[in-house]
Amino acid sequence: MNYIYHIFILINIYSILALSLNLLVGYTGLLSIAHAAFYGIGAYITTLFMANFMLGFIPALIFGCLGATVLSLIIAFASLRFRGDYFVLASLAFQIIVYTILYNWIDFTRGPYGIPGIPKPAIFGIEITSLPAFFLFSLIITVIVLGLLYWLLHAPFGRVLQAIRDDELAAVALGKNVTSFKIKSFLVASGVAAIAGAIYATYVTYIDPTSFDLDESILLVSMVIVGGTGNVKGPLVGVLMLILLPEALRFLSIPDTFAAQLRLIIYGFLLIIMMQLRPQGIAGKYQFE
């Protein structure tokens, strides 16, 4: 039963990540390979404020979100200047720089040793320690966050993002301030990713840089792309598939050492096959232009 809770908490965390990444990839049309960086920034800053300054979960989370959104301005600025593969490269650069900082800035992050003993979150004085409670806690946050995102993406705001994705110039000529919309989409996406980071940090109670490396970013992009871009359903399908896949492998009693690689190999094949057969993903709407 604990195991089921664990899986569901992971699904919650990754749903937040995938949907916020889809805001960039599938709506604004920016293939960003830096999402794990924002996830990590959120996790680290929240942890720092909880562990060092003894703040509660929510205030610490607010700092985490603020940190991630402020740093996202760098890559938002890049998105204004570069498009296509140059933007991908710029986001990759950001990911790698953030990872390197997390890894080397020992005073702040303890580098490769990671930060252990992160306190469990407490809401209204109730400490969330048991697994079922944490599941409920993460579920509530996820539902709120996904609900807000869904709402925003279906509002005229989301419509403008899609227009920018399809034809930036035409959107500009209709009077849309593309610069501001791109920046806003980064602010929202990175702030939301930071929330996932805070949940993760307080769930595992230990973080180190390897949870937020390039591979993690690639995994997130894979989820969105395999599941489908440009709507809300697609990334969720992707999350379910890519989270449940390793568990399925476990039930086929494939040894653990083997399963980790097998899982990644299957992701790789999925990416290639999807790109050839259904570039918009399994349940997606938009395919890259």
Partner: protein
């Protein structure tokens, strides 16, 4: 000390240059952000491990066999990963994601087959050449000389030969190729084969020195991709010089700080240069309607 680190950087840079040349060929002519190039690099090192260490084949023969196999990996990627996409929907991001898929598959296959640990090819201690205060290990000399020869040959061939012209045509005027009666598909295969051999050479030279693990390809790829973009896509001499400059820069960073900052600094350089020259250092500005 400074001179020593510059020399080390220069030698490392010559390997980057080799890698960048291969990446640049593919990226320039097909615009595929060929991230799988990193996996091709890694596979090449492991082929050598397979032939030389596991199968005890003579080193020279092992090297040749490895390069041939590397070449086939490149061809397979072109045929089964890129061509189907190019045929249906030649789109940069779709190609990039496909390439990423190929990278993930290859690297994890390597982990499955050979494990995660570092593998060493040559266990003997290499002779040292002392030049005043400078120390150069024999294998470093080999690395530098071989890369230099290959790169110079390649530049001469590209500059003075129909081939260079055809690469350019593949990049921006494919109709010209069909008029000349050249099969575009074969041309692409040729390009990726050559690119893969370049990656293979870099990998073999490097792994003979320091061995290998499954993740060596990524840093190598990233640095050389940065070199290609800083140097200007299609400007091979520019890419070679940028690669060498990055090699030296990284070596100096290793000297001054801990080793883990090197890739990050490389990317800081990339970002700075991209921000100063948004369209790359040498590529012309695009038409307003496309901006």
């Amino acid at each position: 000390m400074l001179a020593q680190f510059i020399i080390n950087g220069l030698i490392e840079g010559s390997l980057y240059a080799l890698m960048a040349f291969g990446f640049g060929l593919v990226y320039h002519s097909t615009r595929i952000f060929h991230i799988a190039h990193g996996a091709i690099y890694t596979s090449s090192a492991y082929f050598l491990y397979l032939f030389f260490i596991i199968m005890h084949i003579h080193l020279v023969l092992s090297i040749i066999l490895s390069l041939i196999c590397t070449c086939f990996i490149g061809l397979a990627i072109q045929m089964f990963v890129y061509n189907p996409v190019l045929k249906k929907q030649p789109n940069l991001l779709i190609l990039f994601i496909s390439s990423l898929g190929a990278y993930i598959i290859l690297i994890n296959l390597i982990v499955l087959l050979f494990g995660n640990e570092t593998k060493i090819l040559l266990t003997d201690i290499e002779p040292i050449i002392q030049l005043g205060d400078l120390i150069i290990i024999r294998i470093q000399l080999v690395q530098f000389t071989v890369s230099l020869i290959i790169i110079l040959t390649a530049i001469v061939v590209l500059k003075n030969n129909r081939f260079g012209y055809l690469i350019q045509a593949l990049a921006d005027d494919q109709q010209l190729l069909s008029v000349l009666g050249i099969n575009i598909k074969n041309m692409r295969l040729l390009v990726i084969a050559i690119g893969s051999v370049f990656a293979g050479c870099a990998a073999l030279l490097k792994s003979l020195d320091v061995g290998m693990d499954p993740y060596i390809g990524m840093d190598m790829l990233l640095t050389s991709a940065v070199a290609v973009i800083i140097g200007g896509v299609g400007n091979y001499v520019g890419a070679v010089f940028s690669a060498v400059a990055l090699g030296i820069l990284q070596s100096l960073i290793v000297w001054q700080t801990s080793a883990h900052w090197e890739i990050a600094i490389t990317f800081v350089v990339l970002l700075l240069i991209l921000f100063i020259r948004p369209y790359g250092l040498f590529s012309p500005k695009r038409r307003a309607e496309e901006i």
